[in-house]
Symmetry: C2
Subunit: 300 residues, 2 copies
């Protein structure tokens, strides 16, 4: 028997509830897990006591949480989306990626990353459905010392002109549309062709959509390109670059925007240059540079 | 554009994260929902900042939450079980059922209630598999004024001798084994035959089981019978009665035990009385009384 048999410690009450639950963890042999659960149980009970849910509200919450898991599939992760729209994903990112000034800032991975994007040669076009305004993306990957990082890997993904990732439209979009893995040259430079990013809604037909609607919030994200940039000896970064002219830049549904990640796209009407670059006219160009920090284990 | 375009309000940081998220609810037209979300977001961000999860820990949590929903079926509700083992279900019960002294106290519904249990005549035996020690349950349903409540409904459910509810063992246990709906007589009295309740494990093969294991907690509940007792003009109660001799009375995995709900079973070795009552010898008897409070709408 773990606790004394008196009414004070046996009965869980509004006054002792978190303490009664945490007292049961006396045999927990994992200090980190105990620390995590202590924080969760303490805040969970405090929130319940503030909210004072009716039994019906409690059951609504149970159903919401249940359905959020049941919506998850191989290509949809409603729990990550919920973490995103509640600002938790960006908070976890902020906690884990405190970059020195000058380094490229990070932001959420989002639920639509797919590992194993096809390796592409520099300059290749990842827009396989031909939709949207062509854009030529180029830039440079350097260390925080300004030196180029030869062969840095850039894993890129984005939505198509209709506002969907390929995995959201299997059979409609070409497989691996607007995804690709590039490697910078010896000078740290890269370039590829894609489509100009467009604002788009995150999925609104699930629990996250209903939560945003009840909250009086929209479910749009400003136009952006996703990148994971990595190189041996450097900390990998997961980030986006956002189009400064996109709507929703100030109200991104997942709080991913940072001032330093907003960038200018330049529009061009120049048939000759378009032909040289291998894109239809008109087109846009954009420069996206990345500054990486050495891994803690490196002595640079 | 909803917020000013300066770095302070645009970038979500460790300092402003909860405030940035809550500022997005300015257009929420449901004050109660806004109050609930304010409490949840505030405590959620505070907990994350205390815990400082690594990206891997965050993803472990996402997977835990996802799997908890995916384990739910028509006959299994892992989210209710999680609410139960974290003491939340009992806290919500405490908030909603502050009974006057003398009234029967309430406790969790648990995940194994099934509505539509068959109507039984007083005295009927709900133990359809014949397992376990026979028990004769009897008692009285009264108002807090002591007057009998004629025709009060008693919806009863319990595990069989092997520690499983019928819905956990379809095809093994008879359908509706150890479930029944009884109605008290004009004197408020009821009786029925069942099996003596036994301690049993809540499901340990899911996310809740793994959480209990990592917490150094067992997953047992002390032996009990579940009741929902209701009558027109009275507040319905959801409660259990617990066997005072059962192990785990002080460490119920779901925190359901209250001092006033612990009760003595009397064991008998009396073939003649057993025959009169229609049970095998030896057998047990127990008295379980219920005291209901008038509904707020009643002028009693």
């Amino acid at each position: 028997m773990e606790t004394a048999r008196d009414g004070q410690t046996l009965n869980l009450t509004q006054e002792n509830s978190a303490a009664v639950v945490l007292a049961r963890m006396n045999n927990c042999s994992d200090p980190r897990f105990r620390q995590i659960m202590t924080s969760i149980v303490t805040h969970l009970h405090a929130a319940v006591k503030e909210i004072r849910p009716t039994q019906e509200e409690w059951f609504d919450a149970i159903q919401f949480l249940t359905r959020t898991g049941q919506l998850c599939t191989d290509t949809r992760q409603e729990w990550i989306l919920l973490s995103d729209v509640l600002g938790v994903s960006m908070l976890v990112d902020a906690i884990n990626h405190q970059k020195p000034s000058g380094a490229t800032e990070t932001t959420v991975l989002g639920p639509f990353y797919v590992s194993g994007a096809p390796e592409r040669a520099l300059g290749e076009n990842i827009c396989l459905d031909g939709k949207g305004m062509p854009v030529v993306v180029s830039g440079r990957v350097t260390g925080i010392d300004g030196r180029p990082i030869a062969g840095a890997a850039l894993d890129v993904w984005m939505t198509n002109e209709d506002g969907f990732y390929d995995v959201q439209q299997p059979g409609i979009q070409p497989n691996m549309n607007l995804r690709g893995l590039f490697h910078a040259g010896d000078d740290g430079r890269y370039w590829f062709r894609a489509a100009k990013p467009r604002f788009y809604p995150i999925p609104g037909d699930g629990t996250v959509g209903s939560l945003l609607e009840r909250s009086g919030r929209h479910n749009f994200r400003p136009g952006h390109l996703h990148f994971i940039v990595s190189a041996p000896g450097y900390e990998s970064i997961t980030t986006h670059y956002f189009d400064r002219k996109s709507p929703y830049l100030d109200s991104d549904a997942v709080f991913g925007v940072k001032e330093t990640l907003i960038i200018d796209f330049e529009d061009h009407n120049d048939p000759k240059r378009a032909a040289t670059l291998g894109v239809d006219n008109p087109f846009a160009t954009v420069t996206m540079n990345f500054v990486l920090v050495p891994s803690p284990s490196q002595t640079r």
